[in-house]
C-alpha cells in the first residue's frame, strides 16, 4: 500500500514566534507547562506543516489551556474527550495536523477509554500527555499516575491505587509510537515531538512535568541535575543503551529481564550492551524499557516507533475506492435505487 501524506507542507519557513499567541500565559511561575509550551512552539516550524492546518485539541486541566497560548486553530474541549474530538476533526479533514494535549487525569482517568481506542486505531494524531502525577487544577487530588502510597488531599492516609504507566498502557493498546520526555530538558522534548509529528499514526509522548504547587519534585528523584544522568537513560535508535555521568553504565538483557551493568566491571564490555531498536514490532523489550524504574534508569526518548498503516490512510483509501467503484454517484441515484414504481 502506497504511503500517503495528507498534511500540506508550508511554502515558507516559520519560526517559533509565528506560533506564539497574544494571550497571557496563566500557568503558575515555574510550572513545567511553560517549558513544554516552548518545546512545542519550537516543534511546529520543524514539522514544516502549513500553519493554518495545525489544530490543537485539549481536554480540561492546567495543561489543557495550551491551545490558547499557541497561534493555531485550537479546541479547548471538555474533560477527557480531547482524543474523541481530535479523531472527528482528523476524519473530517485529513489535511489537518492534529495535536492532542492532555494531563494524566484527563487522558488516563476520565479519558482513558478514548485514549486506548485512539491508540488502537492508529489514526495520525500527535498526543502529548503532561504527566505531573496529580490533579493540579482542582488543587491536589491523586491521579491515575500518582505514586502508590502518596498522601494527597483525597488520600490523606496514602493512596492504595496502583498507578498506570502510560507507556505500558499505550503498548498494551497496540501503540505504534511511544516516547518519554522531561519538561526540564526542552531541547530533547522538541526533538522527540518533531519525531512524533513525523510518525504516520498515533504518537504518544509522555512528558514528565513538575507541578510546583501540588506535587513539587515528584519526578526529582530522576530529574535533579545531580542524579539525572545516573537515573535516566536517553534511548537512541541503533545506539547502545549507555547512561551515567561517566557514560560507563549500560543495559543488558540477561535472558529474563533488563539489568543495569557497569562497563569494565565483572568482565562486562560494550558487546554486552543492548542496542536500541525502536522499530521491532514485538512489544516485549519496549514494554520492559517503558517500565524501568528503581534500580534501572528511567527511559527517555523514543522507546517505540513502529510502522503500521495508519487509520487515516486506510480510511482515505477506502473512501477513494468506494467513490471510484460505488454504484451511486449522487443522492438522487440512491433515492431511486431498488424497487420503485410510478403512481399516475
Amino acid at each position: 500500500m502506497a504511503e500517503r501524506h495528507f498534511v500540506p507542507q508550508a511554502d515558507c519557513e516559520y519560526t517559533k514566534a509565528d506560533f506564539q499567541s497574544d494571550q497571557m500565559v496563566k500557568w503558575c511561575p515555574g510550572c513545567g507547562d511553560h517549558a513544554i509550551l516552548n518545546s512545542l512552539l519550537a516543534t511546529f516550524p520543524k514539522t514544516g506543516h502549513k500553519k493554518e492546518n495545525i489544530l490543537m485539541v485539549s481536554g480540561i486541566g492546567c495543561s489543557s489551556r495550551i491551545p490558547y497560548y499557541v497561534d493555531t486553530y485550537g479546541f479547548h474541549s471538555i474533560h477527557g474527550r480531547a482524543c474523541a474530538i481530535a479523531t472527528g476533526a482528523k476524519l473530517a479533514n485529513p489535511a489537518l495536523s492534529v495535536w492532542v494535549n492532555m494531563g494524566d487525569g484527563d487522558s488516563m482517568a476520565i479519558g482513558g477509554n478514548h485514549l486506548i481506542h485512539a491508540v488502537r486505531r492508529n489514526q495520525d494524531l500527535n498526543i502529548t500527555i503532561f504527566n505531573n502525577e496529580i490533579y493540579g487544577l482542582t488543587k491536589g487530588q491523586y491521579s491515575p499516575t500518582t505514586k502508590f502510597g502518596q498522601v494527597t488531599k483525597t488520600s490523606p492516609y496514602g493512596t492504595i491505587d496502583y498507578p498506570f504507566n502510560p507507556g505500558e498502557l499505550v503498548m498494551g493498546a497496540q501503540g505504534t509510537f511511544f516516547a518519554r520526555a522531561l519538561d526540564c530538558v526542552p531541547l530533547l522534548t522538541t526533538e522527540i515531538m518533531t519525531r512524533a509529528a513525523k510518525h504516520d499514526g498515533t504518537s504518544v509522548v509522555e512528558v514528565l512535568q513538575n507541578c510546583m504547587i501540588f506535587n513539587d519534585k515528584t519526578h526529582a528523584a530522576i530529574t535533579d541535575r545531580a542524579v539525572r544522568d545516573d537515573r535516566t537513560i536517553i534511548l537512541k535508535h541503533g545506539q547502545p543503551m549507555i547512561f551515567g555521568k561517566d557514560k560507563n553504565k549500560g543495559l543488558r538483557f540477561n535472558g529474563r529481564c533488563l539489568e543495569a551493568v557497569t562497563i569494565g566491571e565483572n568482565g562486562i564490555t560494550m558487546d554486552d550492551i543492548m542496542i536500541h531498536d525502536e522499530t521491532t514490532e514485538d512489544t516485549g523489550i519496549h514494554m520492559m524499557l517503558a517500565r524501568m524504574s528503581g534500580d534501572l534508569p528511567v527511559a527517555i526518548g523514543v522507546i517505540r516507533n513502529v510502522k503500521k498503516t495508519s487509520y487515516t490512510q486506510l480510511y482515505e483509501d477506502q473512501m477513494d475506492e468506494c467513490k471510484a467503484t460505488g454504484k451511486y454517484k449522487c443522492v438522487d441515484d440512491l433515492l431511486n435505487s431498488g424497487d420503485t414504481w410510478m403512481v399516475e
Binding site: S77, L91, G326, K329, C330, L335, G338, W341, V343
Partner: protein, 611 residues
C-alpha cells in the same frame, strides 16, 4: 362454497412467531408486494430485546404488523389476519386480533410441550374461540418438511422456509400474486439456486393449500389501491429515511457528511445505512462509546463537516455534557434520538416519546438548542434534512426526535429530487477576512460564522469556557449575561424562519387535539373518524418543538378544550403550559411502550367532548 372476494379499504395483517421464525422478513415481503401492487402501506415490527430468547416462550415472540390500503396513516390497531407460528405467539397476540379475524396457526407446533411452555394448561382452541374467529389450523411444518425432503434439503434449511408457507396463505387470502416475492428470492439467493427453488416451492405450496381450503373462501379480501399524489414511490423505514435525509442535506449544502455513533437499539440502523454510502462521501465513524460518538462529531463540525450523531435515550444522556459544549462553541451538529421506552435501559425495543424533556433541558447551564420531531417514517427524510439545514444556517446543535415506531416502521415515500429540496447555505467565514471574530453574529439570525481549520488567516480557539464576542476567554459578568442571552435569542429567532403551525380537522371545533412527533398516524385517523361521525374536532400536530411556531399561542387560545396526546407522562403538555399558562389542557398519555390505538383516542376525545 364458492370463492367470495370482499372489497375493502384497508386490512391489517400481523405475522407472529418465535424469534428466528422469519416473521420480520415475512412482514417485509408482504408489505413490499402490497406496495408494488399499488397499496399504501405502513408497517410496525415488534420484536423482543433478546436475539433468540428461549424457544417457544412468550419472551421470544417476534412480530411484524402490516397495514395496507388506499390511504394509510398508521400501522393499524388490531389485525384482520393473524399468522401465529407457535403457541406462545398465538397466546400473546390473540388480544391483537379483531373479533372475527382470520387466524392462521401452524398446528404442527401445538405439541403438549410447546403449549405448556406457552403457559397453556388445556386445549387453546375452545368452541367459543372457534365461534369468535376463523381459525385455520394449517400443517405448516409438516408440509414444509415434505417439500424439503422432496427437494433433498437438510432439516435446518427446510425449517427456515416455514415462514414462506404462511406467507403463501396470506397472499392467497389477500388476493395477491407471488411474483414479487419470487423475484425477491431470486435476487436474494442468486448464488444459491437450490434455496430459491425450495423457498418458491414452499411459498406456492402455502398458496395452493389456501386455495383448496374452503374454510377461508369467504374471507378473501381485495384491498383498494392507494389514492396518492402522482409521482415515483418506494417503501422506506424511518431510520433509512433519516440517513438519506442527512445525505441529501450534505449534498445540497456542499458539506461532507460525518456521523460519529455507537450502536444502540433502535437507532443503530441509521449508522448501518450511512456506513454503506462512502461512495456518496458519508464519513461514518463507529466510536468507542456514546460520548466519543458526539465528541467526534463536534470535532468534525469544527473541521467543517455536516456532523451528526445518532442515538437513543440512554445514549442521549451520555451525550449531555458534550451537547453543552456544542451549544457553547456554537457549532452545527445534528443529534438524532430514536426514542425508546425509558428510563435507564427501559424498553429498548419498544417505542415512547419520553426523551422530550431530556432534549429540551438535559444539560447544565443555560443551554438552548433547536428540537424538531419527525411524524412519520417517510417524513424522517425531511426532518433530518431540516435539522441539518437549521444547524448549518443557524450555527447550533439540533436534536431530531424520532422513535422506535417511526424508525423501524416503514411507509411509502414519494421520491423527491434533491435539487427541489430547500437550499442550504452554511455560514462559512471568508479566509483572511481581517474583521473575522469567532463570535461576530449575523444581525438577523445571530448565528456566528464558521471558520474552518485550513482556512488562512482565521486561526482562533473555541472551547467550553465562556468567551467574549472577539474570541478570548472572559469571566466578565456582563459578558456572560450577554453571551447567554445571545445564545438563547439565536435559538428563539429560528421561529422567524419556520412555517406557521397548521390546524386540520374541523377548525371550528370545541376540542383541539394536540400531538407531536411519531403519533400523527393514529391521531389523524382518530380525528378524521370523529369528524366523519359528526363530532367536531380540530387537530394540530407539532414538528417544530423548540422554538415553537410563532402562531402556537394564537391556536391554543382559540379552543375551549385542548387535549395533548403523547406517549409519555405529559412532557409536551408541561412544556406548553410553561409558555401558555392561560390555556387549560387535558392530557392523554400512554406509557406502555406501544403506539396509540385509534379506538382509545376516540374514547378519550368523546369523553372530553361530553364533559
Amino acid at each position: 362454497m364458492a370463492k367470495q372476494i370482499i372489497e375493502t379499504d384497508s386490512v391489517v395483517v400481523k405475522f407472529v412467531g418465535d424469534s428466528g421464525d422469519g416473521m420480520q422478513l415475512s412482514g417485509t415481503l408482504f408489505s413490499d408486494a402490497a406496495a408494488l401492487g399499488g397499496n399504501d402501506i405502513a408497517t410496525f415490527p415488534d420484536y423482543p430485546a433478546e436475539i433468540r430468547a428461549p424457544h417457544n416462550t412468550i419472551a421470544g415472540v417476534s412480530g411484524y404488523q402490516v397495514h395496507i390500503g388506499s390511504h394509510i396513516y398508521s400501522s393499524g390497531d388490531k389485525c384482520d389476519f393473524l399468522v401465529a407460528m407457535n403457541p406462545a405467539s398465538f397466546k400473546s397476540n390473540l388480544k391483537w386480533a379483531k373479533k372475527g379475524a382470520t387466524i392462521i396457526v401452524d398446528i404442527d407446533t401445538f405439541t403438549d410441550e410447546a403449549m405448556t411452555k406457552a403457559g397453556y394448561t388445556s386445549n387453546p382452541f375452545t368452541d367459543e374461540l372457534e365461534r369468535e374467529y376463523t381459525i385455520v389450523k394449517a400443517p405448516v411444518t409438516s408440509f414444509t418438511k415434505r417439500i424439503g425432503e422432496e427437494k433433498g434439503a437438510d432439516l435446518k434449511t427446510t425449517e427456515k422456509c416455514r415462514n414462506m408457507f404462511a406467507l403463501g396463505i396470506i397472499f392467497y387470502v389477500t388476493n395477491k400474486t407471488l411474483t414479487q416475492t419470487e423475484k425477491y428470492l431470486e435476487r436474494k439467493f442468486a448464488k444459491k439456486p437450490a434455496i430459491v427453488e425450495l423457498n418458491k416451492a414452499v411459498l406456492t405450496e402455502g398458496y395452493e393449500y389456501a386455495e383448496k381450503l374452503e374454510l377461508i373462501h369467504s374471507h378473501i379480501v381485495k384491498v383498494s389501491n392507494a389514492k396518492m399524489p402522482a409521482g415515483k414511490y418506494r417503501n422506506i423505514t424511518g431510520n433509512v429515511a433519516t440517513a438519506w435525509g442527512l445525505l441529501a442535506a450534505s449534498e445540497r449544502s456542499g458539506r461532507q457528511l460525518f456521523l460519529g455513533s455507537y450502536p444502540i437499539t433502535p437507532a443503530t440502523d441509521v449508522m448501518v445505512e450511512l456506513a454503506k454510502h462512502k461512495s456518496l462521501g458519508a464519513r461514518v465513524f463507529q466510536a468507542e462509546d456514546e460520548i466519543a460518538g458526539i465528541c467526534s462529531a463536534i470535532g468534525a463540525s469544527y473541521a467543517g463537516a455536516l456532523a451528526c450523531t445518532s442515538t437513543s435515550g440512554p445514549g442521549l444522556s451520555l451525550k449531555s455534557e458534550a451537547l453543552g459544549l456544542a451549544v457553547m462553541t456554537e457549532l452545527p451538529l445534528v443529534v438524532v434520538d430514536v426514542q425508546r421506552g425509558g428510563p435507564s435501559t427501559g424498553l429498548p425495543t419498544k417505542t415512547e416519546q419520553s426523551d422530550l424533556n431530556q432534549a429540551l433541558y438535559g444539560r447544565n447551564g443555560e443551554a438552548p438548542l433547536i428540537v424538531v420531531a419527525a411524524s412519520s417514517s417517510a417524513n424522517c427524510f425531511y426532518w433530518a434534512y431540516t435539522a441539518a439545514k437549521l444547524a448549518l444556517e443557524h450555527m447550533t446543535p439540533v436534536i431530531l426526535l424520532t422513535d422506535g415506531y417511526l424508525g423501524n416502521g416503514s411507509q411509502l415515500f414519494r421520491i423527491p429530487k434533491v435539487a427541489d429540496l430547500p437550499s442550504i447555505t452554511p455560514r462559512l467565514a471568508t479566509p483572511n477576512d481581517p474583521n473575522y471574530r469567532p463570535f461576530r453574529r449575523d444581525e438577523k439570525t445571530l448565528a456566528r460564522e464558521w471558520a474552518l481549520p485550513g482556512m488562512e488567516g482565521l486561526s482562533h480557539r473555541v472551547g467550553g469556557l465562556e468567551k467574549c464576542p472577539d474570541g478570548p476567554l472572559s469571566t466578565d459578568p456582563e459578558n456572560h449575561a450577554l453571551m447567554v442571552r445571545n445564545r438563547q435569542e439565536k435559538v428563539d429567532r429560528v421561529a422567524n424562519y419556520i412555517p406557521d403551525q397548521e390546524v386540520t380537522g374541523n377548525p371550528d371545533a370545541d376540542l383541539l387535539v394536540v400531538g407531536w412527533g411519531g403519533t400523527s398516524g393514529a391521531l389523524t385517523l382518530a380525528v378524521e373518524e370523529m369528524n366523519a361521525e359528526g363530532k367536531k374536532v380540530a387537530y394540530t400536530h407539532f414538528n417544530y418543538i423548540c422554538p415553537l411556531p410563532k402562531n402556537t399561542g394564537d391556536i391554543l387560545r382559540k379552543y375551549k378544550k385542548i387535549v395533548v396526546c403523547e406517549l409519555n407522562n405529559g412532557q409536551f403538555a408541561g412544556y406548553l403550559r410553561t409558555q401558555f399558562p392561560e390555556c387549560p389542557m387535558h392530557q392523554y398519555n400512554k406509557i406502555m411502550g406501544l403506539p396509540f390505538e385509534v379506538g382509545e383516542l376516540k374514547n378519550c376525545f368523546t369523553k372530553i367532548l361530553g364533559e
